[in-house]
C-alpha cells in the first residue's frame, strides 16, 4: 500500500484520545452498552472511550464477559450502543439506519470470524470477492493476486470450503476481509479454532498486512501468543478499559492477564 509501513508502526495514539486526528481510523467516545433492563440489566460496556490507530494491529484482551466482543461489535456497526458515539473515519455511525450500516460494513470494514464463516456453496475465489460482488464493485485484480499469493491460496481458489482445511478456510476469510481495502478489519478470535501452525500463519499474515499494506486491524483474542503480534494491547474488564500495553510480548501479556485473575479472585 501507499503508506510507509515503518512510519505507521511508530504512531501510538493516546490511551483515551477523544479527538479524531488523521492517525485515528476509528474511535469509541464514552460508549456504554447495556443489555436487558431493570434488575436483569447487564452493563457490558461502561463509558468506554478508545481510539484505534491507522495502520496498527490492536488486540483487545480480557476475561470472558469483560465486554471485549461487545466493544468490537459496536465498533463494527453490528451492535448498537446504548449511549456514546462510534466514529469510523471520523464519521459518527451511532445513529445510522440498517441500510447505511450495511453499506458501511460492506464498503469500509472487513471481518474475520472465529468459525471462518464462509459460504459453503461458493468457491474460495467467490468467497473472497463476495463483498465486492454484493456491492457490484469491480475487483482490483492486482490487489486480489497479491493477497492470494501472500496467503498461498492460489491453488485453492476453485475449491469449496468443505474441501479446505481449517487454516485454509481462515486464510480465505482473511483474504475476503482485505480484498475491498477496508478502512478497518475486525478479527474476532481469528485463531480460536486453529492449531498452532495454522494460527501462526494467520497471525503472521495479519501482522504483514499491517506492516506491508498499512492495513488497520482490531483483533479480539484470548490468546496471549496472538496478542503478542499486536502493536498495542487493550485490556478490558467489567466493561472498562483497565490497561494497555505497547510492543507486547507473550510473556508480558501472560503476566498482565495473571494479575487480572489475581485481582478478580481477591
Amino acid at each position: 500500500m501507499n503508506t510507509p509501513a515503518a512510519a505507521n508502526r511508530m504512531v501510538a495514539p493516546a490511551l483515551t484520545a477523544t479527538g479524531s486526528d488523521g492517525d485515528t481510523v476509528a474511535e469509541a467516545v464514552d460508549v456504554t452498552r447495556v443489555f436487558g433492563d431493570g434488575d436483569a440489566a447487564v452493563r457490558a460496556l461502561d463509558h468506554v472511550s478508545v481510539a484505534f490507530g491507522r495502520g496498527q494491529l490492536t488486540a483487545i484482551m480480557g476475561p470472558s464477559g469483560s465486554g471485549k466482543s461487545t466493544l468490537m461489535h459496536c465498533m463494527a456497526g453490528l451492535d448498537v450502543v446504548t449511549s456514546g458515539r462510534i466514529l469510523i473515519e471520523g464519521n459518527d455511525i451511532s445513529d445510522l439506519d440498517d441500510r447505511r450500516l450495511t453499506s458501511l460494513r460492506r464498503d469500509h470494514l472487513g471481518f474475520v470470524f472465529q468459525a471462518y464463516n464462509l459460504i459453503p456453496t461458493l468457491t474460495a475465489q467467490a468467497n473472497i470477492t463476495l463483498p465486492l460482488d454484493i456491492a457490484g464493485t469491480r475487483v482490483d485484480q492486482a490487489w486480489f493476486d497479491q493477497i492470494v499469493d501472500t496467503l498461498h491460496l492460489r491453488d485453492r481458489l476453485t475449491h469449496r470450503p468443505h474441501e479446505l482445511s481449517g487454516g485454509q478456510q481462515q486464510r480465505v476469510a482473511c483474504a475476503r476481509a482485505l480484498v475491498g481495502r477496508p478502512s478497518l478489519v475486525f478479527a474476532d478470535e481469528p485463531t480460536g479454532n486453529l492449531d498452532s501452525k495454522a494460527s501462526a500463519d494467520i497471525l503472521a499474515f495479519l501482522r504483514r498486512s499491517v506492516d506491508d499494506f498499512g492495513q488497520s486491524i482490531v483483533m479480539v483474542t484470548h490468546d496471549p501468543g496472538a496478542a503478542s503480534y499486536a502493536d498495542r494491547v487493550l485490556f478490558l474488564d467489567d466493561g472498562r478499559i483497565v490497561d494497555e500495553m505497547h510492543e507486547p510480548t507473550t510473556a508480558r501479556v501472560l503476566q498482565r492477564m495473571g494479575t487480572f485473575e489475581l485481582a478478580r479472585h481477591s
Binding site: 440498517d98 464463516n117 460482488d133
Partner: protein
C-alpha cells in the same frame, strides 16, 4: 421419550404448523367428501320416502332386456324408462278390486315447464321439468296455498319451482305441457320436499290424462294397501291379476332402486372428490417427508446426544414418529373443520352445476371425523418413516462433531433408476396408445412409471433447470442470484422433493388441459365435418316436443326436418342405445361413409350397424337379427348397411324412426333434437327466423346453426374443466405450503451464513431477493417438470382416444405459459414468510448461532 417429542414439537412449532396445514388440506378433502356423501344420502332418503309416501305397491311395465343406467337420471317415481312398456289405464278398475287394495293412483306424468316472470322457461341445470296429475288424496304432495286446478288452463306449482319462476298464486303464465303450449293460471302452491332441482307442475286429472297418457297407458300405477295388509302380501296378490307385460313391485323396493340409481350418478361426484383428496394427500406427503428429513438433519447432534446417553435406535425412531403422529392428528382435526367448508362449497357447486338442491344440511358424523383423522395421521406417520429411520441411524459420535451436515450422497444411482423407469414408462405408454385398440392397462402402467421416473430422477434435472431459471435474474443482480441458485442446488434432492409437490399438481392440470382442449377441438371438428345440418333444434336436458319436427318441415325453405331419438336395442348379448332417424334425415344431416350395403336402405325393420360392431358380432349385410327394440320383443331386424365408425355419430346401430315410434310408448318418447336442412339456395336467415318463430312457444327449444351447436357442445366441457381446475388448485396450494416450509427450514439452517452475508454487507432487500429467487427457481423447476410431464401424458392419452372422438390434438399453449408464469408468482408468494424471517434475524445472533 414423550418429553423429548413434545420439546421437539415446541422447538419447531412453526415448521410443524406448516406441515400440519399440508396434512390439513389433504384431509379436508377426505372429510368434505364424507360430509357431502352423508348429505346426499340424507337428501335422497328424504326424497324417496316423500315420493313413495302412500305407495305400497307399484304396477309398471315389465322390463324388456337389461336396464341401462345413463348418467344422472332424475325421476322421483323411478318408473319411467324407455325399456318398459306403458301400463294400460284400463287396469285401474281391475286393480281396485284386488283384496287389500285401498287406493289406486295411476302415475300420470310427463314433461311440463312453465315460463317464469321473465318469460323464460323455469329450469335449472340438467334437471327436468315434471308434470303430474294432482290427486288431493296423494300424501306426497301437500297443497299449502290456493286451490286445486280445474280444467286445462289451471295448474298447481311446486313451491321451489314457484320461487324460481318468481311468480305467485293467481298469476298467469305460459306452460308447455306434453307437446302443447298454452296460457295457464296458477291456482295454488304445493310442497313436495327436495326435488333435486327438478321443477314440478300439477294438473287436474283429466287434463293430465289427455296430455301425458294420450294412448291410454301410463308409466306406472301406485297402490295403497288397506290397513293390515303388508306390501309383500299386496304385491303377490296384485301380481296374480297382471298381464305378462306388467309387473308389481313394493314401494320399499322402488325407493331402494331409485335411491341406488341416483346415488350411482352422484356417487361419481364423491368418487371424483376422493381422487382429489388422494392427490392432495399424496402431494402433502412430499412436504411431510421433506420437513421431517430437514428437521432430523438439523437435529442430528441432539439425536446423537440421545443415542450417546443411551437411547436405543428404536427410541430415537419413536421420537420422530411420535412427532409425526401429533402433527398428523392436529392437521387432520383442522382438516375436518376445513372439510365442512369444502362440503358447503361442493353443495353449492352441485346445485349450480347439476341443479340439485341438497336439503340435509352438513351432517358431521363420528365416522367422518374418525376416518379423516385416521387417514391423515397414517399418511403423516408413513411419510415420516424414512426420515425416522435416518434419525435412528445417527451414530452417537455425531454428537461430538461440529459439522453436523452429512455429505450429500451421489445422485447417479437415482438418475439411473429414474431414467430407466422413465424410458420403460414412455415405451409402455407409447405402445399402449398406438395400438389400434388402445391398451389402457399398459398405458396406465406406463404413465405411472413415467411419473415415478420423473419423481426419482428429478434431482438430476434440478441443476440445468434451476440454472436456466436463475439466468435472467443473474443478469440483473449477479451475486444475489448466484447465491440463490447455489442455495437451490445445495441439496438437489431436497429442492426436487419440494418441487415435486408442485410438479404433480401442474402435471395433472396440464394433462387435463390437453385432453379438454383436444376434446373441444375434436367436437368442433367433428361437427363441422360430419354434421351437414343448417340448423339444430334442441331443448338441452328437455326433449323437443314431437310436434316440432313436422311443423319445421312444413316451413318454407326447409328441405327436411328430422327428429332424432334413442331407443334400446338388444340382440343376444348385444345391448346398445340405437339412434332413431329417417333415411332422409340421415342422408341430409350426417356424413357417414359406407363400408358395405346401402345406408339409404334404412327403413322399417332394416337397420344400419357400424363397422366395429359388425366385425365384433360377425354381422354382415343381409343378416337377420332377433332383437328387442324398446318395448317390442322378438323383432326380426335386417342389416341393410354397415357404416364406418364415427365419433360424431356416437352410436353403434341406427334404426328407422317408424320402428322407434312403434317401439316407444307415448309416455317415454323423447326427441333429443330436430335436425333441419334448408333448401339449396334458400335464405338461411329467413329459414332461421321461421324456425325461431316456430319454437318460441315451446319455451325450452332453441335454434342453433352448426357452429353454435358445436360451441354449445364445447361449453359443457368447459364447465367440467373449470371444476377440475378448481379442485386441482388445492394441490397447488399444498405445494406452495411445501415451498414455504422448505425455505423456512433452510433459512433456519443457514442462519449463520445469513448472518455473515449481512455482516459483510448484504442488504436486507438483497437478502429477501436471494430467498425469493431461490423460491422462484424451485417453483419454476417443479412447474417445468410438471408441465412437460402433463403435456406428454396428455398428448399420449389423446392419441389413445383418437378413435373415440378425440381425433384432434390441441395443446393449450396459452395455459402452459400461464402456468409457468403463475408458478413464478407462486415462488414469490412462498418466499414472503421465510424472507421476512431471514431479514429480521439479528446479524450478531445469527453469526453466533451454532
Amino acid at each position: 421419550m414423550w418429553r423429548v417429542t413434545l420439546r421437539g414439537l415446541q422447538g419447531h412449532a412453526l415448521r410443524f404448523l406448516l406441515t400440519a396445514s399440508a396434512v390439513m388440506l389433504g384431509v379436508s378433502f377426505v372429510a368434505g367428501t364424507f360430509v357431502l356423501r352423508d348429505s346426499i344420502d340424507g337428501s335422497l332418503s328424504n326424497l324417496f320416502s316423500q315420493a313413495f309416501k302412500g305407495t305400497d305397491v307399484s304396477v309398471r311395465g315389465a322390463a324388456v332386456g337389461d336396464a341401462l343406467t345413463e348418467g344422472i337420471v332424475i325421476d322421483p317415481t323411478g318408473a319411467s324408462s324407455t325399456t318398459r312398456p306403458g301400463v294400460p289405464l284400463s287396469l285401474e278398475r281391475k286393480l281396485a278390486t284386488v283384496p287389500g287394495v285401498a287406493r289406486v293412483v295411476p302415475n300420470i306424468q310427463g314433461t311440463a315447464i312453465i315460463a317464469g316472470k321473465d318469460g323464460l322457461a323455469v329450469r335449472s341445470g340438467g334437471a327436468p321439468g315434471l308434470g303430474f296429475a294432482y290427486d288431493p288424496s296423494d300424501p306426497a304432495f301437500t297443497l299449502i296455498k290456493g286451490s286445486a286446478p280445474t280444467g286445462p288452463s289451471q295448474v298447481l306449482v311446486e313451491s321451489s319451482t314457484l320461487a324460481k319462476a318468481g311468480l305467485q298464486v293467481g298469476d298467469r303464465t305460459i306452460a308447455v305441457i306434453g307437446n302443447q303450449t298454452r296460457p295457464v293460471t296458477i291456482t295454488g302452491e304445493v310442497s313436495f320436499g327436495s326435488l333435486f332441482g327438478a321443477t314440478a307442475v300439477l294438473l287436474d286429472d283429466a287434463t293430465a290424462r289427455r296430455a301425458f297418457a294420450p294412448d291410454g297407458t301410463v308409466a306406472s300405477i301406485s297402490l295403497t294397501a288397506a290397513p293390515g295388509t303388508s306390501q309383500e302380501t299386496l304385491r303377490a296378490a296384485v301380481a296374480g291379476v297382471l298381464p305378462a307385460s306388467a309387473e308389481a313391485v313394493t314401494g320399499e323396493q322402488l325407493a331402494q332402486d331409485g335411491e341406488a340409481s341416483l346415488q350411482s350418478g352422484l356417487g361419481f361426484f364423491t368418487t371424483f372428490m376422493l381422487v382429489f383428496a388422494g392427490v392432495a394427500l399424496f402431494v402433502g406427503s412430499f412436504i411431510i417427508v421433506n420437513t421431517f428429513s430437514m428437521v432430523v438433519a438439523q437435529r442430528t447432534r441432539e439425536l446423537a446426544l440421545l443415542r450417546a446417553i443411551g437411547a436405543s435406535r428404536r427410541q430415537v425412531m419413536t421420537v420422530v414418529l411420535a412427532e409425526a403422529a401429533v402433527v398428523g392428528a392436529v392437521g387432520s382435526l383442522l382438516g375436518v373443520g376445513f372439510g365442512l367448508l369444502i362440503a358447503a362449497g361442493a353443495e353449492k357447486l352441485v346445485s349450480t352445476l347439476l341443479g340439485v338442491e341438497l336439503g340435509a344440511g352438513l351432517p358431521l358424523g363420528v365416522p367422518t371425523v374418525l376416518w379423516s383423522v385416521a387417514v391423515g395421521t397414517l399418511v403423516t406417520v408413513a411419510a415420516a418413516v424414512l426420515p425416522a429411520l435416518r434419525a435412528a441411524r445417527t451414530p452417537p459420535v455425531a454428537a461430538m462433531s461440529l459439522d453436523a451436515g452429512a455429505a450429500p450422497a451421489g445422485l447417479r444411482r437415482r438418475g439411473v433408476i429414474g431414467g430407466v423407469a422413465l424410458v420403460v414408462g414412455i415405451v409402455m405408454l407409447a405402445v399402449g396408445v398406438t395400438r389400434i385398440d388402445a391398451q389402457w392397462g399398459l398405458a396406465g402402467l406406463g404413465s405411472g412409471l413415467c411419473v415415478l421416473g420423473v419423481l426419482i430422477a428429478a434431482p438430476l434435472a434440478a441443476r440445468p433447470v434451476v440454472r436456466a431459471v436463475s439466468w435472467p435474474f443473474e443478469l440483473i443482480t449477479h451475486t444475489v442470484a448466484k447465491l440463490a441458485r447455489r442455495n437451490a442446488l445445495r441439496v438437489p434432492r431436497r429442492t426436487a422433493t419440494t418441487a415435486s409437490a408442485l410438479m404433480i399438481g401442474l402435471a395433472l392440470i396440464s394433462g387435463t388441459a390437453v385432453l379438454a382442449s383436444s376434446a373441444k377441438a375434436s367436437i368442433t371438428d367433428i361437427v363441422s365435418v360430419e354434421l351437414t345440418s343448417d340448423f339444430v333444434l334442441s331443448g338441452g336436458a328437455s326433449p323437443v316436443p314431437e310436434t316440432v319436427a313436422p311443423r319445421a318441415a312444413a316451413l318454407p325453405g326447409v328441405q327436411s326436418a328430422s327428429a332424432l331419438s334413442g331407443v334400446d336395442v338388444h340382440a343376444g348379448s348385444f345391448s346398445s342405445i340405437a339412434t332413431a332417424i329417417t333415411a332422409t334425415g340421415l342422408a341430409d344431416n350426417f356424413v357417414l361413409s359406407t363400408v358395405s350395403g346401402r345406408l339409404d336402405s334404412l327403413g322399417g325393420h332394416t337397420v344400419l350397424v357400424d363397422a366395429s360392431t359388425a366385425a365384433a358380432r360377425s354381422w354382415h349385410v343381409g343378416d337377420t337379427l332377433d332383437a328387442t327394440v324398446g318395448t317390442l320383443t322378438r323383432q326380426r331386424l335386417t342389416v341393410g348397411g354397415i357404416y364406418a365408425d364415427s365419433a360424431g355419430f356416437n352410436s353403434h346401430v341406427i334404426v328407422d324412426r317408424s320402428l322407434y315410434l312403434a317401439a316407444a310408448p307415448d309416455t317415454s318418447r323423447r326427441d333429443i333434437g330436430v335436425y333441419v336442412r334448408a333448401d339449396p339456395g334458400a335464405d338461411l336467415a329467413a329459414v332461421r327466423a321461421g324456425l325461431v318463430g316456430l319454437v318460441q312457444p315451446y319455451l325450452v327449444v332453441s335454434v342453433q346453426d352448426g357452429q353454435e351447436f358445436a360451441a354449445a357442445q364445447g361449453a359443457s366441457i368447459d364447465v367440467l374443466i373449470n371444476l377440475l381446475y378448481v379442485l386441482l388448485l388445492f394441490s397447488v396450494v399444498v405445494a406452495v405450503l411445501g415451498i414455504v416450509n422448505t425455505l423456512a427450514l433452510s433459512v433456519f439452517e443457514r442462519t449463520r451464513e445469513i448472518g455473515l452475508l449481512r455482516a459483510i454487507g448484504l442488504r436486507r432487500r438483497q437478502l429477501a431477493s436471494m430467498i425469493t429467487i431461490e423460491a422462484v427457481a424451485t417453483a419454476v423447476f417443479g412447474a417445468v417438470l410438471g408441465t412437460v410431464l402433463g403435456l406428454g401424458l396428455g398428448v399420449a392419452l389423446q392419441h389413445g382416444l383418437a378413435s373415440r372422438g378425440l381425433g384432434v390434438l390441441a395443446v393449450p399453449w396459452s395455459l402452459v405459459v400461464t402456468l409457468l408464469v403463475s408458478s413464478a408468482l407462486v415462488g414469490v408468494v412462498a418466499a414472503a414468510l421465510p424472507s421476512i424471517r431471514a431479514v429480521r434475524l439479528g446479524v450478531l445472533e445469527a453469526i453466533d448461532s451454532v
